[in-house]
Symmetry: D2
Subunit: 410 residues, 4 copies
Amino acid sequence: MSGCPYFQKRDVLFQSRQQQKDEGERDDSQDGTNKASKGGIIYGDYLQLDKIVTAQTLQSELKGNKIHDEHLFIVTHQAYELWFKQILWELDSVRDIFISGHVRDERNMLKVTTRTHRIVMIFRLLVDQFAVLETMTALDFFDFREYLSPASGFQSLQFRLLENKIGVPDNQRVPYNRRHYRDNFRGEDSELLLSSEEEPTLLQLVEKWLERTPGLEENGFNFWGKLEANIAVGLKREREKLETKPESEDKDEQMAEFTKQREVLESLFDEKRHDHLMSKGERRLSYKALQGALMIYFYREEPRFQVPFQLLTSLMDIDTLMTKWRYNHVCMVHRMIGSKAGTGGSSGYHYLRSTVSDRYKVFVDLFNLATFLVPRHWVPKLNPTEHPFLFTADTCCDSSYCSSVSDDSD
Amino acid sequence: MSGCPYFQKRDVLFQSRQQQKDEGERDDSQDGTNKASKGGIIYGDYLQLDKIVTAQTLQSELKGNKIHDEHLFIVTHQAYELWFKQILWELDSVRDIFISGHVRDERNMLKVTTRTHRIVMIFRLLVDQFAVLETMTALDFFDFREYLSPASGFQSLQFRLLENKIGVPDNQRVPYNRRHYRDNFRGEDSELLLSSEEEPTLLQLVEKWLERTPGLEENGFNFWGKLEANIAVGLKREREKLETKPESEDKDEQMAEFTKQREVLESLFDEKRHDHLMSKGERRLSYKALQGALMIYFYREEPRFQVPFQLLTSLMDIDTLMTKWRYNHVCMVHRMIGSKAGTGGSSGYHYLRSTVSDRYKVFVDLFNLATFLVPRHWVPKLNPTEHPFLFTADTCCDSSYCSSVSDDSD
Amino acid sequence: MSGCPYFQKRDVLFQSRQQQKDEGERDDSQDGTNKASKGGIIYGDYLQLDKIVTAQTLQSELKGNKIHDEHLFIVTHQAYELWFKQILWELDSVRDIFISGHVRDERNMLKVTTRTHRIVMIFRLLVDQFAVLETMTALDFFDFREYLSPASGFQSLQFRLLENKIGVPDNQRVPYNRRHYRDNFRGEDSELLLSSEEEPTLLQLVEKWLERTPGLEENGFNFWGKLEANIAVGLKREREKLETKPESEDKDEQMAEFTKQREVLESLFDEKRHDHLMSKGERRLSYKALQGALMIYFYREEPRFQVPFQLLTSLMDIDTLMTKWRYNHVCMVHRMIGSKAGTGGSSGYHYLRSTVSDRYKVFVDLFNLATFLVPRHWVPKLNPTEHPFLFTADTCCDSSYCSSVSDDSD
Amino acid sequence: MSGCPYFQKRDVLFQSRQQQKDEGERDDSQDGTNKASKGGIIYGDYLQLDKIVTAQTLQSELKGNKIHDEHLFIVTHQAYELWFKQILWELDSVRDIFISGHVRDERNMLKVTTRTHRIVMIFRLLVDQFAVLETMTALDFFDFREYLSPASGFQSLQFRLLENKIGVPDNQRVPYNRRHYRDNFRGEDSELLLSSEEEPTLLQLVEKWLERTPGLEENGFNFWGKLEANIAVGLKREREKLETKPESEDKDEQMAEFTKQREVLESLFDEKRHDHLMSKGERRLSYKALQGALMIYFYREEPRFQVPFQLLTSLMDIDTLMTKWRYNHVCMVHRMIGSKAGTGGSSGYHYLRSTVSDRYKVFVDLFNLATFLVPRHWVPKLNPTEHPFLFTADTCCDSSYCSSVSDDSD
């Protein structure tokens, strides 16, 4: 490579190829061998382009009034569906790792995090993709819109599957024209949706995994018990400090704020309140899982929790990006059809607007946990000797050190 | 709408649907009618999803060693091809408007600019799209790479068509493994490529259009003649001003710089030099077209040139984004295969690197025109009375207005 | 340039500089002259970097508890403020062109559109910018959050100015802790806000400009009168066609839909209803301006309306991006503080959520106009001879043609 | 919260605030307390906006010829510098963790990876940011360009510091107008640069860290020795398999390809060749560090290597994004000034183009390692009992688990 300046010569320069050949230089960029003649698969067949790039049939053209922009409309939606397929592929693989219990082998955590993060990256692209469709104006859309009825984006099977598999609960869904969302699908599609509702959702699988968070064992590290005790002590001290201050309007306010904060923090340990919020759909994770999530938050820097913490972050990213996607969709629809009905007969803008809601945020608990953060020195201390479960083997297994701790390892 | 608070209630709130119904409120978001049962086309059929989302066959799975990430590889490339199809659709429509002479009806300029701008927006998305594929690491790729041979991105028919139709000239192409690029395609594909080379390219069509720029007529406004004269006067004055300065090192330097600038500007009017640069591929637009482009640059604020100026900007955007796409592609390939050969047998990284070059910038002249800008007061003045061609009908047909401005026009 | 292969050699290659020098080749990239020693301004002084990159003082550090991530928090907000400054710069210049009446000289339309489009591009960046701040987790934020009180993003003077100058009306604003938004600012800032409320807003200026749309004159082209007549005829014909169909459930439904559509279209011509909607803030443009906007929509391809149409599109883009910005802000805040109060004492998430609303969409009428689109053949025909006002001077002024139309030009 | 429909009412709706108050509803969004009057810092002071938003002085205005677009030019560059400051902040903190040896405490790996990833996210924004500056055309730039001389982006101290601290080696830098890059800086700046060259670079620190990769110990797991042996065996078997095939042109080719592959793989173990490549700058990591990196690649799924693998990926991301930044910069400059000289007197486009090179890719070895990947079954097996260093303490310290897996480990 280093001996061949030829390739770089061509760069930027405007020499004709002939000139270059005349100069008789070698050319790195030409060092390959043609393999296409040797059998095997070629690009177009590999990607099944005969299907992909022939699947654009304009309804307007069929009706004798070909409208140029319908092609963009079709391709954009097909691109969305392609990527939904990919998201489902990643989502299913992540769910499979959880379902088969492989996530207990922590080697699989890299896969789980990487694939979850990939879903994040895809959604980021999909949010940006609206900018392309928005090059079409309301007037262009009007020209072919009548031909589409009753096709509607609501009918996207893959998007509904996606929602179900992540964990949008049936009873939180906004109905579609007063009908259950599933009644808008037929035959095999309806069955696929039903079975996706019955399979374990990502939410449920993450919940089970969080419930197993090492350190929650009451007869072990007992994180939750320790945390409750520490918070009680912390609040008591804060109150005492406040009370020593001389009376003033300022003090009254600080006390009021303190009381508010105390109520918030104490509510965290109220299991009945949790169950009540669960029943209303305001919380989605079990009480135990919530504890696991908060534990991972507080000890995220421990080697064993670093990747789990990243996973929780990616799950929030997905939730956020899905609501951003919905919101971008709403904005586009508002622009395209004003306040008219959707092609499928829905109330259009209003229906979509109603789905941009925390009701559809599956991992809403992970966001709300931010409400319950406490100062670092209130967080129960971990001692590697006593509680080695969050450390690497080297730290504790190494030499004599390991034997000393091996007795009380859980 | 305004009387219906129901829809907003649902937002953010965590009421169950049942609760809402119990409260007996109306719900804007449910005002639609189900149309899907009434015949007509539905979403999945409209988008031919039976083709689109079933076209992912993993070679690794066929060979009995299913590799998860191959699915991402396939979907990403299919998404690229879908968007290439859309770009070709826009490109062909723009070329058709030019070919059929419809662009002489200036009503079509909005279409031309909008569609060209849409290509820009799509390429922007395609450049970002690499971020998704880059979630796959070299190690993941290695696991299925052997199954792909000899498929290669080089074989993308649509991308080659795209290059040809925009106007990448055959003699500027980097060969592929020492063979003419077209020899890597077979049968019908090869013919499609050949015919795309024979059709008028976007570059050629824009060239013809630029040559017709109103104001170039030597017996009319004679922009080129006036500009040459103005530049000569301008340079002369600048030189005179410089010469009055007392001798100093500084003056010498300014004089040297002035001489350099003068040479650059004078070269603009050297048609022979232009033809020489054309023959080497360093310029691509005819001498006349170059004049038209510069004229649009200088008078871009005149009503009639506003949209043409936007078009020239979009053409540069496309060029820029195509080289950014190539460069992003190179970066990804470097990461995936290091300095190994490509799957198609090319020299991989080196081949691709060689195509990130101004040789592939079709509208390179539009960029280089920036070299020839002059102060605004050197630009020949336009007078609406004498030269109404750049104005709206109102401006000049309204007799009273016309006469009133004719006196004090600068 | 073409004779110098040196520069390209260096590319990709790993030769040391010394090697290259030994080979004695010329180097295009080194052809410049050092000017920095000759006086004049240098980079750092030009950009006043002594101010810009020294303005990061961590409150946490001042309080003796330096938190790494506070630096990101500061820089991100400073970047927002820098860009807000730029948006105000563009916005003020656009408003000035309108205020001074310069927009009557249609040469200024390119400036207006370009600068408006630039605001769009900046907002697009600002929406993406949240992704950077989101690399900070709730826990990181918690560590320094207490030091910020009572600073709050609500206090961003520039953002409030921005809203006022675009045209968010005072009576549509969500109060901030039950106080008028302006009461949260002091002294000079409060006065700046007041005066920004009193200056003509972009909305008002666009309104005045739309009211002047050529073609609205009742004694001229009389677009509105002609449109109303055409719609009446169109609806009548549609109704007659429907009525000839044999009775059926289908027919009933189509008739119901037709009635709905007729009501919508007829409401367009109900000036009283318009005034009523205006008074409630559901419409923001005067009746005349609305007519102008719809006229530009329908005749957007006429040379004189191409750029105005782009302007209307950009105004919608700004509205959309501002609500996306708000929504992204909400999402970030939810993640950072859960459902806690904001640092400034606001209800945080809830306050922000309430501002992601059509109440804050200034150009909401431009979106809603999509509700009133009609088939192209219902749009009143323009005849260049009779109505030359939308054409270029060439079309009508040229030779004899011009004199023939000059009589009835308006 | 759930009992309060008020806030949601406001959403989308167009009720005036007065109406809402009349209805006497409670309003979640108004639950906060005003704190701004209570002392403490407010937004504008916290962000030192008196410096940030007053630092825009147009040279063109000073010279009596105010050019609108100069403001954009200033703000864009200031935004770049703000973000460079943030990148340096993250970079310095990451380097400090390495320098102080804190990275040996693996708890710090989350910080290192998160902050490195944050640099990636910032660079992604900076690459996109060019789209804003590109709304300025060459003509707009020409109008104020003369006032900037001799200021030049080359003089960005922070960007040079950034390059130095990451590890762009002095001897790989392209000179600037035939002068050492540092000679273009004066006084304190020059000293800062010199000292940044003398401090340990990120490259060097990562190198030292990679050299310590557990598993490289020759008297321990001896990864490198085992890998060399496995590759030898693997290649031998492949050769034998090939040799059994009947003679044919195909076989000859496969043999040729095999030979090529063998040479590549064998070169990996040639330390002399490595040192030679090091001396030419084609490799940057020590032989030992290279081994560590490849080991992390191959065992990335082991719990202890998951985060280190992410770090290596982020380092490549930074390299890639920095070259993309450079390339985007080149593209913008080409558009702005054609092939003219830069404002600082450099050869402009050509100088910048020459810096988009693998010479400036600091972690080029991490990319090139992709060249040396081998099938998974050639990778030496790890046994948790024998080699516990890559596992979590739980896995190996839990005696029952350890003994149970030691039998069937593969």
